[in-house]
Amino acid sequence: MRRRTGHTEDKRAERTLGALAVALLLLIGGMIVTVFVNAWPSFSSNGLSWFGPGGDVDTQLRAMQESTPLPGHSIEYFRAWPLIWGTLLTTVLAVVLALFVSTLAAVFLTEFAPQPVRRILEPVIRLLAGVPSVVYGLIGILALAPFINHHWISTSRKQSVAYVVQLNGADLTTATVILAVMITPIMVALIAGALASVPLPWREGSAALGVNRWRTIVRVSLRTARPAIVAATVLATARALGEAIMLAMVAGGRGFAANPLDGLTFLFEPVRPLAATIVQEQEGLSIAPLAHTIYAIAAVLLVSAALLSFAGWAAKQPLKRYGIRA
């Protein structure tokens, strides 16, 4: 082979790799544009009421699938509020639950756990992160949902709402608990990373002033790691928002806006989050109005995920000021 001069070879390598990177950029740009273009008919015919409440969302989706418009409405008629509400409920409840668990777990892991316990707990958390979501869904629908159905939901509670919705254990509680288990590892990893990188002298200073270990952790370590905790929360929210398969399996799949005014029954009402709806309605991607609606849902998810990614990045910036990489 003829020896090329290093310079030409270099230029070619840079161009090739650069082209690869630009292709990726174009692909992502193309994705965002395509999803929005396909979503536009749904948004434009519903306007901002797309996000609002109005009627039974399941009926609207079925009408689109059967190409028979609901009486008095166009075929694109869609009010996503029950789905959005379902997403908000599962996401917020799961993130709040996971926030408590993972902060405590991260503190335990970095501060209190003896070496042998830590050696067990670290792989345990990694395993928790590695379990595929369909396995979580399977456990939820075959173990947790029947358990909740039999032991937590009384017959009288079922009868009290029987004329509106059936309670069968595939509900808000199951979805929230499993979702919390799924996002805990990410949050533990981020928070523990930040806690471990709090400069030792800061903690020693606190200890030297006679502050006990717990207060030192709360007042010094956790406070320093606060940006990481915010970032962990934001990123876990993005993860919870995008979870589709597990929620499609355990959340009940009923476009029902669970009502907090129902008291405790509220926790046992089925929900239908946005991402799960895409999976459940995917058969309808060949039917134009339904496809537009599905792409509109995807567009909402895409925007939220991008915003949350950015927020997570922004939340971590203050840590850099302390010279902490987390």
């Binding site: 992502i28 668990v101 209190f112 316990v117 379990v131 396995v135 399977l138 990410i186 030792l200």
Partner: protein, 345 residues
């Protein structure tokens, strides 16, 4: 702090870099609220272990209980009777094919992009844009990637990658389609671990290579990439884990046929253009949420899936190396395997 330890015999100086932990101090002197916090920490840690133990034991009992050697060699069949619905030979093949396609595309692309980002990255604004594009992929829910993929692969000029219907419409669902979109899913993990590793290579290594008259390109090829091989490999293993575990892309882009359905007569190409299933979509199909609804099969397949993930997990640990693992920060250590961890630098 322990008063006696402070005033009494001086402690031996700790090794440099070792974490200095104060001698455990009894909690009995703490205020009640602090003690509650302390015990809550212990309770959470143990509870997490118990949850994982329960998941593993539960899946093992259910999975091994329903696992028969025959399941691995029988083709699945649509039947409401669990004794007649066959095994999961096709899903296992499907998982292998999808993982192979995804990895084969994602690995070179990911390494290339990572090298460009760390070694060239000119012009700077473009590099930043590419960086955020990688972040966007990492953050986008896989369902969104899946339905985007369906749009793309239903275009007529990509018809050669899936099935052509008689009326000219392109089906858009095939092993090719699913595998290519899966590559996007694995990409951020590979880019992330390659970049991280490249940034760890000291500059003097590059300078030494330049001083010997090597060009940048050959420095990358002959010096940098060989030196970060284990990290690249663990990134690829992470990506494979993510591909194996994803269900949304499979259910939307692989066509949800239980058995592998080749298109046309061409041996390999026809298979890849055809539809099929993987272990994840098989579990989904056989769960009460799917159409098959035969929990025994779902449990057995989910157990196999879990074992594969565990093995990959072990592989990543082995690749990263026990000793090197200890040097990593706790966050990096925890993030070694996980579907949404590319965010962690």
């Amino acid at each position: 702090m322990d008063g006696a330890a402070l005033l009494g015999t001086p402690k031996p100086a700790p090794r440099a870099g070792a974490v200095v932990r104060p001698k455990r101090q009894g909690t009995s002197a703490w205020p009640l609220i602090d003690r509650i916090g302390y015990w809550l920490c212990w309770a959470t840690g143990i509870a997490l272990c118990l949850i994982v133990l329960w998941i593993v034991v539960y899946m093992m009992i259910k999975g091994i209980g329903y696992l028969r050697p025959a399941l691995f060699v029988e083709h699945p069949a649509a039947s409401l009777q669990q004794s007649k619905s066959g095994g999961f030979l096709d899903p296992i093949e499907g998982t292998l094919i999808i993982t192979a396609i995804g990895t084969l595309i994602a690995a070179p692309t990911g390494i290339g992009i990572a090298v460009w980002l760390s070694e060239y990255a000119r012009p700077a604004p473009l590099a930043r844009a590419v960086e955020s594009a990688v972040d966007v992929i990492a953050g986008v829910p896989s369902v969104v990637l899946a339905i985007f993929g369906l749009l793309v692969f239903s275009e007529s000029f990509l018809g050669f990658l899936s099935e052509h219907a008689a009326n000219g419409t392109v089906y858009g669902r095939s092993f090719f389609a699913a595998g290519i979109v899966m590559a996007l899913l694995a990409l951020p993990l590979i880019v992330g671990s390659t970049r991280e590793a490249l940034s760890q290579v000291p500059d003097r290594v590059r300078e030494a290579s330049y001083a010997l008259g090597k060009s940048r390109a050959s420095t990358i090829r002959c010096v940098l990439l060989p030196s970060i091989r284990p990290d690249v490999a663990s990134g690829i293993a992470l990506g494979m884990g993510r591909i194996i575990g994803d269900t949304a892309i499979i259910t939307i882009l692989l066509g949800q046929t239980l058995t592998t359905q080749a298109v046309g007569g061409t041996p390999v190409l026809g298979l890849l253009r055809g539809t099929g299933s993987t272990l994840t979509s098989y579990v989904f199909y056989n769960s009460p949420a799917g159409e098959g609804n035969s929990p025994q099969k779902a449990y057995a397949a989910a157990f196999v899936l879990l074992v594969i993930v565990l093995l990959l997990n072990a592989l990543v640990t082995a690749l990263t190396g026990g000793r090197r693992l200890d040097r990593l920060g706790i966050g990096a250590r925890l993030s070694l395997i996980g579907r949404s961890f590319p965010w962690i630098p």
